[in-house]
């Protein structure tokens, strides 16, 4: 961006949201504009605050699990997974391998679904209206699998503390593999529409650049961090479930701009398919529930457990006082912390880039506000 001096008198304050088509929910951004150039911004959040953490203190461990689905409602499976794993860690139980692989399959499917939703809306924000219909078509297939497994499409509550409530339905493996076969060429299709499209490249290259150091300083995680060239994925660094048993690569970007983050997420979808295929192969008959009693009463203590959710590091900090209710549950929402980097990324860009930057952060306001 060229250095220009601006007169304060020309500054126009514009309110983007909470009702705005490109803020992905009820995010409100106050923009200080000079013409169309953004001189500063402030995010106003909390419109969707429901006090999830307070609710947790008034529910038993098992009762709280469905609430986690309502935070990142486009990736409910991973949200639930983070919570049940945190409680399992607190309890010190290990869950059987069949349950682990099932969780991984569903979580990776959910990752694809979340990325698809992101890709479609991100493209729509930048004016490409067609990809959203294609990505939703594929997402629908995933939701069908989820629905067949647990009866819900969005707020799945797929897992239980200690394992799974239901075993897989007949033909699950076949359907998942069929989806993988069907889905891989579709990724190429999206890429054909966007990756080499000159307008797309112009709109995303050098937009919202975040260097690796800045990304770490701002605590950004997930694809946004990897887009900035930091090769860090919790699935590799501190594997949970059976992620240490499967092979996959961590795609990273070079420049930390919107285009790189786009490429990273597209590559992540391919890697997710790879993980799913391996998991399906290893899915052996066996028990699906670990040694957890009917009443969940963990020992006194605190655990922090985090997983690689589609949007970044999703952490649960659970404090137990030895009773049946958690004493405190803290959710470390990736969306909130990624959103904090918004101002840094937006300064000096044009209004049109703001929607690109909001899109590339892939926030879900249900999780930001909790």
């Amino acid at each position: 961006m060229a250095e220009t001096t601006y007169l304060d008198a020309n500054e126009l304050v514009i309110n983007m949201g909470p009702q705005h088509p490109a803020t992905h929910g009820v995010l409100r951004v106050k923009l200080n504009l000079d013409g169309e150039r953004v001189m500063g911004s402030e995010c106003v959040i909390g419109y969707l605050h429901r006090g999830v953490e307070k609710i947790a203190e008034n529910r038993t461990y098992a009762q709280f699990a469905p609430y986690t689905d309502r935070m990142d409602y486009v990736a409910a499976v991973t949200n639930g997974m983070g919570y049940v794993e945190a409680v399992e860690k607190l309890l010190g139980v290990e869950i059987p391998s069949r349950a682990q692989y099932t969780r991984m399959i569903l979580a990776e499917l959910q990752r694809i679904a979340s990325h698809l939703l992101w890709l479609g809306t991100h493209a729509l924000d930048l004016g490409a209206m067609t990809p959203v219909f294609y990505t939703f078509r594929e997402r629908e297939e995933i939701l069908k699998i989820l629905e067949k497994y647990c009866g819900a499409r969005l707020t799945t509550h797929a897992f239980r503390i200690g394992g799974l409530q239901y075993d897989l339905y007949d033909g699950f493996e076949r359907e998942v593999v069929a989806f993988c076969d069907y889905f891989m060429p579709k990724i190429d299709e999206y890429e054909q529409l966007l990756t080499t499209n000159r307008i797309w490249v112009n709109r995303t290259r050098k937009i919202g650049v975040l260097s690796g150091e800045d990304a770490i300083a701002m605590g950004v995680t997930g694809p946004v961090l990897r887009g900035s060239g930091v090769k860090w994925d919790i699935r590799k660094a501190q594997p949970y479930e059976a992620y240490d048993q499967v092979e996959f690569d961590i795609p990273i970007g070079e420049h930390g701009d919107t285009y790189d983050r786009y490429l990273v997420r597209v590559q992540e979808m391919r890697q997710a398919v790879r993980i799913i295929r391996q998991c399906v192969e290893r899915l052996a008959p066996g028990p699906i529930f670990g040694k957890v009693g009917k009443v969940i009463k963990p020992p006194v203590g605190e655990v922090y457990h985090s997983i690689e959710a589609p949007k970044g590091e999703l952490g649960y900090f659970v404090v137990s006082d030895g009773s049946t209710n958690p004493y405190r549950v803290r959710v470390r929402p990736p969306s909130l912390i990624n959103l904090q980097a918004f101002d840094m990324m937006a300064r000096g860009h044009l209004v049109a880039d703001i929607v690109a930057i909001i899109g590339t952060l892939d926030i879900v306001l249900g999780e930001v506000d909790r």
Binding site: I14, P21, G127, M129, R137, L193, L194, W200, N202, A352
Partner: protein, 404 residues
Amino acid sequence: MLENAFNVVMAHPLLLAVIKILIVFAVLSGIVAYLVYMERKVLAFMQARLGPMRVGPWGLLQPIADGLKLLLKEDIIPAGADKFVFLLAPAISVLAAFTVFAVIPFAGNFYISDINIGLLFILGVSSLGIYGIILGGWSSNSHYPLLGALRSSAQLVSYEVAAGMALVGVLLISNSLSMVEIVNRQQQMGVWNVFLQPLAFVIYVIAAVAETNRNPFDLPEAESELTAGFHTEYSGFRFALYFMAEYTNMVLVSCIAVTLFLGGWLRPFSSVHALDFLRWAPPVSLVGAAVFILWLGLQSRVPLERYFFVALALGCVAVGVIISYPLILNAVQGIFWFGVKVLAFLYAFIWYRATFPRYRYDQLMNVGWRWMIPLALANLIVTAVVRYLLSAHTPASPVAWLLR
């Protein structure tokens, strides 16, 4: 007595013009309404969905329902708006768009007027439409519309230049500003201007997309950035007027492009007599349409819909039979080919929308000023030089030619 009166009335110079205007206006309004339907359907099929299906068979009555809805909606005027300008602005847009059709020759024998400065008139009046957008955005007294209006004016001004210069290239080879004359000239030369001025054609098409605020240049109303751009505060019928102006402009730029570059009402290869059988295209395509409609209708499970489609197919066949009558067949040739070309153009407009992301404001300006205008200028100079060298009356030296 009666006959006498009839003759007097018919002899009145305004009468025929008024009738033509009414026809053009009515048909155009219908076309614009169904252009929206076509856009929704074509987009839908490109995006793996069906589009409007509920209002009428295959959603055919959707435009009427939309129009009614907009008419009956409350006309909201924001408290802080400049009321007079706010009310006037959409009317300016739509008026400017419709007025230009006065000089478009739909066929060799059907146009409202043929003035000898037709092209100038088009450029002049269509530029007036921008006032509607600027004033609408400004008078709303709101941020998003203002930004939309600013973008729009900058965009239109820059692309108008490129489009105008591209058109001058055509003028140089046509020797006339009259739209009818330009088409006639193409007939005489036996070649469409697009083959003589390909670069000008490409520049004009791009500029036309930009001038009509269509994707990928739809920044003034970029939904994801400016909610709805300049017409954010408009509702009800005034919003419908803007909407109509936009689509009328689409038809308009298509008509201009067809007239100037694609031989207007001429059928392809009009000078090749071996292809004279193409004159049967109108009835044949109508019968083809009838078959397609019948096929659609037979898939429907609703009896009423089936009857409707069958009736529609029969109607198509009937019209096809009527226009097969030699005299009528000759009369509809021009309008048919003109219509086909314009439709192809409109289809391309919709196609762009399904394919491209949106340009950013500064990138759009870059494309306009750094590429389109220099290219148009270069095209103009090259055309002028070639035209001079080929001219039969070439004077002894260029200097002499210039001083002539």
